[in-house]
Symmetry: C2
Subunit: 301 residues, 2 copies
């Protein structure tokens, strides 16, 4: 079993659903908690049109501030999500250290999320990814709605694999499969990641699950079995895509870390600090979050 | 993969934590919903001292009523839990079709739950189980707190396996591992069930998980991987042992069935009826239950 990398996406995928805009000083406080907790990668935000998603309006500023305060190499890698060329320019300008971008395998989700068809998105995203990689950036590409779609239901596996093949043909081997709608189930997860591994054994695989139907953590386990070594999760189990149907939270960072602790893994990441953060975020939004551990407490043996 | 048998324990493990005693006519209505849903086994209750657990005071009556109304062979098997010889007598008297009994691997839990030490319980339970089996009854034996204990923390695997060995020596091969406190994690589940299978390949294995730390469904998946073919679950995710610490609900029947549907399995069991029941139970107790599916709805593809 490899390292089990924790990619914390709560600041992006966790917050983008929230109507209540989080003040920048609060965001910075939360990011600092994540840095202190020693997660591996923090997604600070997405480079989208601020008028369409006010919660993400200060993404550029957050990168500038955090990169200035915390020198690279002595803190988590900072990732950011881009949806188009304009977003990519902004991401490069502020020095995003891992640029994430993706193509939805669902036509309806692609249109609603990006205004592009899935095939148009494919051409543009692959070009963007290749250009960004050639310019020296670390790039992660994803297939969104890879396991099913809230609008369309079943997603043809052939369509998912055709996107994967295009990524691999273009040398894009850092690949995430995102279960935007939460339809994934463990056997499907093992099968699809297995297909990628059989095509490209050296691919670096990331998973991203939503817990809509209660299968998030089972899918994490299936991913570990499949050789996935990076896990996109959100503090408190916050989140969901605003442009999907029946969205639900991400797998909770502290719940997954608690599971890793049970395996004797990643004890270098502070569960205590992540639990404190989930409590703080719950208090900020004045509601109970989906995560388990921040409510039940943790096992210490 | 074998049949994936659904053993519904909500009427026992689900209700025993509830202070609000469910009137008998309501219990019968819920049991009838489970019969109509076509689950495989229904645990109607436990044969315990009614003064200690008023919620279970009418267990004998429930067996009489259901057995009279619904002839055997044309409805689910009716199981019941017994803790001692007096309970076993009562169970046999009312014709329980699968008698369940167990030994806690945790000293503290054993004392609190039964007033006996784990080793005393072992001697008595094995004698009871062997006698009941010889008298022609179907008997399932379990190890409670098999994966950890809320009071004691880590449970020595050697202790769990010594109980298993005693069961097997005495011809008791229908074995359940119960994660009373919810400490189990998937790799541990695979390991422990693997140990039983390696000792006795023909053992009939059952699992029983509580979702305290959010790992219930991941443990179900691990159990399927390990050749477990029977799953103790509770409608709505109700439940927990009143004599444990930080108890939480069982894995939810309808959530697990929804997962089985995703695999194309057990479509002969009605998810719709189980969801309606979870809604009814939620309304009865006037609170939100832990299950996911009865709130989000189901995927139909």
């Amino acid at each position: 079993m490899s390292k089990l990398i924790i990619h914390e996406v709560g600041m992006r995928d966790g917050l983008q659903m929230e109507k209540q805009v989080v003040p920048q000083e609060t965001k910075i406080k939360w990011i600092e908690s994540l840095i202190e907790a020693n997660v591996d990668i923090i997604q600070l935000g997405s480079f989208v049109n601020p008028s369409k998603m006010p919660q993400m309006a200060d993404t550029d500023d957050l990168f500038k501030i955090i990169r200035e305060r915390y020198p690279e190499g002595r803190r988590p890698i900072l990732s950011g999500l881009v949806l188009n060329e304009r977003g990519l320019e902004r991401a490069v300008a502020v020095g995003v250290e891992m640029i994430c971008m993706g193509i939805s395998a669902s036509e309806t989700h692609s249109q609603k999320n990006t205004g592009m068809s899935s095939h148009e998105a494919q051409d543009r995203i692959i070009k963007m990814a290749v250009d960004a990689k050639q310019a020296g950036n670390q790039v992660q590409v994803s297939v969104q709605s890879a396991f099913g779609c809230g609008f369309e239901g079943k997603i043809d596996e052939g369509r998912v694999l055709s996107i994967i093949d295009k990524y691999l043909e273009n040398g894009l081997t850092k690949i995430s499969l995102a279960d935007t709608a939460g339809h994934a189930y463990p056997q499907q997860v093992e099968h699809l990641f297995g297909e990628i591994k059989s095509r490209c054994p050296e691919a670096e695989l990331t998973c991203h699950f939503h817990n809509t139907y209660g299968l998030g953590m089972a899918n994490v386990f299936a991913s570990i079995n499949s050789g996935v070594d990076s896990f996109e999760v959100a503090f408190g189990g916050l989140g969901g895509c605003p442009f999907t149907k029946t969205a639900a939270g991400n797998v909770s960072t502290e719940d997954m870390l608690h599971y890793f602790y049970r395996m004797g893994k990643r004890k270098d990441v502070s569960l205590e600090k992540l639990i404190a953060l989930a409590k703080e975020v719950s208090a900020f939004f004045d509601r109970t979050l989906p995560g388990y551990i921040y409510k039940t407490g943790t096992l210490n043996y």
